[in-house]
Amino acid sequence: MTIPEHFPEQVVEDALAAFSGRPENLLQMLIRIQAALGHVPVDVMARLAQALALPLARIRGVVGFYAFLSETPQGLYRVRFSDNITDRMQGGPALLEQMCRRLWLEPGHLSEDGLLTVDTTSCTGMCDQGPALLVNGLAIPRLDPARIDRISDLILARTPLADWPEALFQVDDNLRRRDRLLDHDLAPGDALRTALARGRTGDREAAANARSWREGMPGGQGPLATLEEIKHSNLRGRGGAGFTTGLKWEACRNAPGDARYVVCNADEGEPGTFKDRVLLASQADLLWEGMTVCAYVVGARQGFLYLRGEYLHLLQPLEASLARRRRAGLLGRDILGQAGFDFDITIHLGAGAYVCGEESALLESLEGKRGIPRNRPPYPVSHGYLQRPTVVNNVETFCAAALVARHGGDWYREAGTAKSSGTKLLSVAGDCSRPGIYEYPFGVTVAQVLADCGAEDAQAVQVSGPSGVCIGREGFGRRIAFEDLATAGAFTIFNSQRDMFLVARNYTRFFAHESCGFCTPCRVGTAMLKNIMDKIEAGHGTPYDLAEIEQLDRVLQTSAHCGLGHTACNPTLDTLKAFRPAYERRMTSLDFEPAFDLDGALAKARQMTGRDDAGAHLSLKDHP
């Protein structure tokens, strides 16, 4: 864990070599350099700029965009406490304070001896086993005072991370309810074999079709037969937007281009969501299988898994699983012996940016750039990675697609509702006795989920995270389905003791922190919203502020560039509607109240002069 002697030349050369010196791998190089050196010094950026023929300013812009990259030293240990509302409810802030006191430092600042930084970060996806933190990117869940002491000791002793007790890093799957996805009986390769066989019945050689497609010639029956099953299954995307998967694959297959790509979105940044983490940990083969089926259908040779930086602990197991598949002939050249069926998957890491879950921002990030959502149209299916036709799907979507490829569309449609076929994984967390992953057929009621997970006293559930909806008791009869409560999977429960204003404020801060800053309405609007919530929290809120929230919501809904901005006001508006007293309790005035606290501004002067008499105070009430 010491900074290498040959700093920084060797580190840079290693990074360049590991990612074949290609500018689109810039972010991956920077992540590697950050891990090796604890920051990305400007002379390193200058060397990269030269080697990659990129402007230095552009590299600096990339470093400045991602929360896990830094231009200034951050010490040997970078500790980040997850700041999601569930981590906070589980006592995260007090543990952060404990660690800072113990190690004598201020959050967000490098310790005086240059040993470490302690800071907060957006939801790390450990809500069912929080509070959690990341140390140099690796997750440590289930924090308590004893664990914090233990971690502090290890840091003070400068113990290399590799020598920390493994138990600290143990992450549980907490699979609580299984249905057709988690209960599947597929062995690696089963879905692919079925897909290839399905092709052979209609035509001669399935793989020949796959290959001829790539060469720009009309597609054949092989891939099309499986595409038909996917379409017939009525599978819809599990990442939030719910687009029909078969249509997406078809559009990509039919878009002109000299190469096609399959990208799995494993950015899972929506606070409260962790089902993709569990799928990646326990169902990696099913995911690879789904991606490979997709490659077969659309005619792609290259796939990517975009893995959020917070899931660094999964990188090695996933790489090992890919290697096993290559050895088994399920990836690489001539997959399952079919001449011309070539496909492989590369894992790219994210670096702390929720917006990179938005598919076009994800593609920018995959290309090594700042994660700014693109202008659409054109869409990724025709202009995706490197402007080539690209399918972007969520982890769960690919897993479900593998099942459909194996068992067919009819089998899949047996579960769920007419409009929402199949099952959905829910990430259940918050105030309940059995948090974890629950798989249900679509159509399950909120009340049923609450009963199953042991949530006795729920007053609200945040469905699909802050960008989704907050429902109160009157909504517990509603159903999880695209036609009612559409969800990417988060199911965060709040009992009647919880202050729903603080919940909304936490989510509002999240959006302000994660806004990419590209468009005016979101860059400025999310910051204004955060300021208003802080003003209300400080007891200075008025109905005027509530009207301003509604105004900002209109501006964001109408003009924001991507879904982050469109949904940024949801938590505030939903809680205002269902839990208005939580706001009004904090209001001192029913009319205008300036944000500027006149008397508060004099506090420093009073301190310096040692005065605290009535004459040293200003009161608005005395001087209306």
Partner: protein
């Protein structure tokens, strides 16, 4: 907001495809966006980050219109036959007013002491749209000034992050002097030097990038206030009456921008 009919340098090519803008037909060529076609046809849509010589950016959202009832940025949305576009409505002008107010609140804009006053697009849009008050609490951000260059001053207090200088420097000057860094409220402009100072870049007064800033960030030294406030561009006529004269200008540079944000 009535527009002065403007002469477009090239008459629209032989095309019959049109879309409707506020009830009147607008012809367009394949590949034009809504705003490009509208401006070429002498129809004004308010805009700020769009500049006729560069690829549309789509970030300020002032050009937001409703297309078949749904909002979209007209500078980036490709024109299509038969679209029904609304622009000059109270709802959309209200949105634009709010966006201008938000930009004023985000930066430090003290117009009376600004060298750009009267020539500033943000200010001109504010007047034209009828922005009477700040509307929001100001952020009063702490932003630096870079006076290191002998001929050019950078006053980041007024930056609206429109990326025009980034584009001009990469596409026209071939220098990439500017890029954007940070995100959200920490988003800011950076210059292409390890020191972070403009003096250590190859920026030059004659660069295209030094002309395009719509607000008062990139300021030429020693010529300040040569033209008195009151006799400047937008002091004479409102921006809606002038924008069309600039409109259909062919781009000067290559479309490639190594430092630009948007990949579309």
């Amino acid at each position: 907001m009535t527009a002065t009919p403007a002469m477009s340098p090239q008459p629209p090519a032989a095309t019959t495809a049109t879309f409707q803008l506020d009830g009147r037909e607008v012809p367009f060529n394949e590949g034009q966006t809504i705003i490009q076609a509208a401006l070429a046809a002498g129809r004004y849509i308010p805009h700020l980050c769009y500049h006729p010589e560069f690829k549309p950016h789509g970030s300020c959202k002032l050009c937001t219109v409703k297309v078949n009832g749904r909002p979209a940025a007209s500078c980036t949305l490709p024109a299509q036959a038969g679209l029904v576009v609304e622009s000059d409505t109270e709802e959309l002008n209200g949105l634009r007013r709010t966006l201008v107010q938000m930009l004023f609140a985000e930066g430090n804009h003290f117009c009376p002491s600004c060298e750009k006053s009267g020539n500033c697009t943000l200010q001109a849009l504010g007047y034209d749209l009828g922005v009477m008050t700040a509307g929001f609490r100001h952020f009063f951000p702490d932003r630096p000034v870079d006076a290191s260059h002998p001929d050019i001053l950078l006053d980041f207090n007024r930056c609206i992050l429109c990326e025009l200088c980034v584009r001009a420097s990469c596409e026209v000057d071939g220098k990439c002097v500017f890029a954007l860094s940070g995100r959200g409220q920490t988003k800011h402009l950076v210059v292409n030097a390890a020191s972070g100072r403009l003096a250590d870049t190859d920026a030059d007064l004659a660069d295209k990038a030094m002309e395009v800033c719509p607000v008062g960030v990139i300021i030429k030294k020693r010529v300040g206030f040569a033209q008195p406030i009151g006799q400047r561009r937008y002091d004479a006529r409102p921006i809606s009456a002038q924008a069309l004269e600039d409109a259909p200008r062919p781009g000067a540079g290559s479309p490639g921008c190594a430092a630009c944000e948007e990949g579309g």
